[in-house]
Amino acid sequence: MQEINVQYVAELARIRLTEEEETRFGGQLSQILEYVDKLNQLDVEGIDPMTHAVPLVNVTRKDEVQPSLSNELALKNAPASLNGLFKVPKIVE
């Protein structure tokens, strides 16, 4: 069995798990890791890691300005706003 620190992963994802969930997800995540671990059985010597399935490079756009959203539209889905800003919980450093 692959050991996995479920608490740490949950913390990184900013989610809270009950103890029961921790055990359940821990098992599932371990299974996934074990499955992926099968790749280690292959000899990949000299093969470059692939990040994309499509052999495409150099996709760019011209540096041209396009219209932006209005402030009203930009904030339309925001749960809360303030003076044209997205309102968020106080950020403390």
Binding site: N58, K62, D63, V65, S68, L82
Partner: protein, 475 residues
């Protein structure tokens, strides 16, 4: 025991593009909050970023200006973290395959030529800007997605002065290359400082302290000085330093620890699936190479060699590219480039700061400066009158020659006129004449001044001195 510091700097620079990095929103400082935004830079689900080719071009150009290697393959990655100013909960950056690698910056510091290695200069995106209120914070995403270049130096800087000189040189290089306007007040340049202290002679680096997000070079200087003294004091008193991130408080003039445990990051970098890698062709690199400009240090050396300017004057000119360009145009055909430089550095700069003009606003043309220097050099006007002519040209944009004629300012070298002025002054000031005859040199200067006044400043001062002396001592 003696201690020494080692500094490495990470400098973030906003690129001078028209549009943002991944979308067509305008790359422009200010504006009403959240009006330069779209679904892409707001991180809405289902959108796709497309790389701005100009930002890629400017990144490679920076690499060339900083003597970097240009890898054949570059890609983008996601750096994951939660913070309200990151709209997507990740920042797109270049992790293991940046666009430029391993270069160096050469500059002068404390009368020595220094070279600091550049680890990498990679392309990423800026984040939003947060404002803090009593109980809540607010985020403006106008800045989110603006192309940002992160230039990482090797830990090879050994003094606060050297760090400051490095930053200024880097800034000038970027302005020269048209990479960024580097307007500090608009937050276009920010830097993170890494500083460690070790006993002199020790090979391994000391514990690294990082001070994040400095938005002024003077602040960076102050923070480095404070941190250096703090670290040395801790070590002197037998204490130990820890690796941590500290925050600079400008009002207090101190750094504070940022609870290192909670700050431990795990960014879980992963290849950005929405962006294809870059494998630029040689022809593209070649076309960018044409934009490589002369570096400030090379220009400084050229000015000293070709124009015979002193180092201080050269530095002042070179640090201001538009003024340097103006100087070169004025000095191009001049036999007296030093006089040209003096007029620009003293008179022109004074007038410009007084009237708040930039080089582009000027009515006075480089050819006018050249002409004015010629007028003085040929004896047509004296240097005092030149000041008056300069001011008139600055105001009107008329040619110096024209002003001289219009105002009748030509220098009087005609001997009968000067003789007459001298005689009049000698007659009116018998006491000073006696004093001079008795050996008081000051008396002659006074009489000279009187003649100049009588001629409304137009008499040839050297001639006046000669005539007075002759007439008084051999009457």
């Amino acid at each position: 025991m003696e201690y020494e510091i080692v500094i490495g700097l990470e400098t973030h620079v906003q690129l001078k593009t028209r549009s943002k990095m991944w979308c067509g929103c305008v790359n422009q400082f200010g504006g009403e909050p959240n009006t330069h935004v779209c679904p892409v830079c707001l991180g809405f689900p289902g959108v796709l970023p497309v790389a701005n080719e100009e930002a890629l071009r400017l990144t490679v150009l920076t690499g060339m200006l900083l003597n970097c290697g240009l890898p054949k393959r570059a890609k983008f990655d996601r750096k994951n973290y939660f913070y309200p100013d990151a709209s997507k909960n990740y920042q797109i950056t270049q992790y293991d395959l940046p666009s430029t690698l391993k270069g160096c910056v050469e500059f002068e510091s404390e009368n020595k030529t220094c070279r600091v290695g550049i680890t990498r200069a990679h392309l990423e995106e800026d984040v939003g800007k947060s404002s803090h209120f009593d109980r809540v914070s607010g985020v403006d995403f106008n800045r989110a997605g603006v192309p940002l270049l992160e230039i990482v130096s090797e830990p090879e800087i050994t003094s606060v002065q050297m760090a400051s000189d490095y930053l200024n040189e880097l800034k000038t290089i970027l302005i020269y290359g048209g990479i960024s306007d580097c307007d500090m007040e608009k937050g276009m340049v920010r830097c993170d400082l890494n500083l460690s202290t070790r006993p002199v002679g020790q090979k391994e680096l000391g514990k690294k302290v990082e001070i994040k997000n400095m938005n002024s070079f003077s602040g960076a200087r102050k923070a480095l000085t404070y941190e250096m003294n703090r670290q040395i004091k801790v070590l002197r008193n037998g204490g130990a330093l820890i690796q941590e991130t500290r925050r600079w408080d400008d009002a207090e003039g101190m750094t504070h620890s940022m609870r290192s445990k909670e700050m431990a990051h795990d960014y879980r970098y992963l290849p950005e699936p929405d962006l294809m890698p870059f494998e630029p062709e040689t022809a593209w690199y070649d076309s960018i190479r044409e934009s490589v400009v002369e570096l400030p240090l090379a220009r400084k050396r050229r000015y000293m060699k070709d124009y015979g300017l002193p180092p201080k004057d050269t530095e002042t000119l070179v640090s201001n590219p538009s003024l340097a360009g103006y100087f070169e145009k004025a000095a191009e055909h001049s036999k007296k480039p030093k006089a040209v430089a003096n007029l620009i550095l003293n008179n022109l700069r004074a007038c410009m700061s007084e009237s708040n003009h930039s080089v582009d606003d000027l009515k006075i043309q480089p050819t006018h400066i050249h002409e004015l220097v010629q007028l003085v050099d040929s004896g047509k006007i004296n240097s005092r009158i030149a000041q008056e002519v300069f001011n008139a040209v600055y105001e009107s944009g008329k040619s110096p020659q024209g002003i001289v004629e219009e105002k009748g300012l030509a220098q009087v070298s005609d001997s009968s006129t000067i003789d007459a002025f001298c005689d009049e002054v000698i007659k009116a000031n018998p006491k000073s004449v006696e004093d001079f005859q008795a050996g008081k040199q000051n008396a002659l200067n006074f009489l000279k001044g009187q003649v100049m006044r009588l001629s409304k400043g137009k008499a040839n001062p050297a001639l006046v001195g000669q005539v007075l002396e002759k007439r008084i001592l051999n009457p």
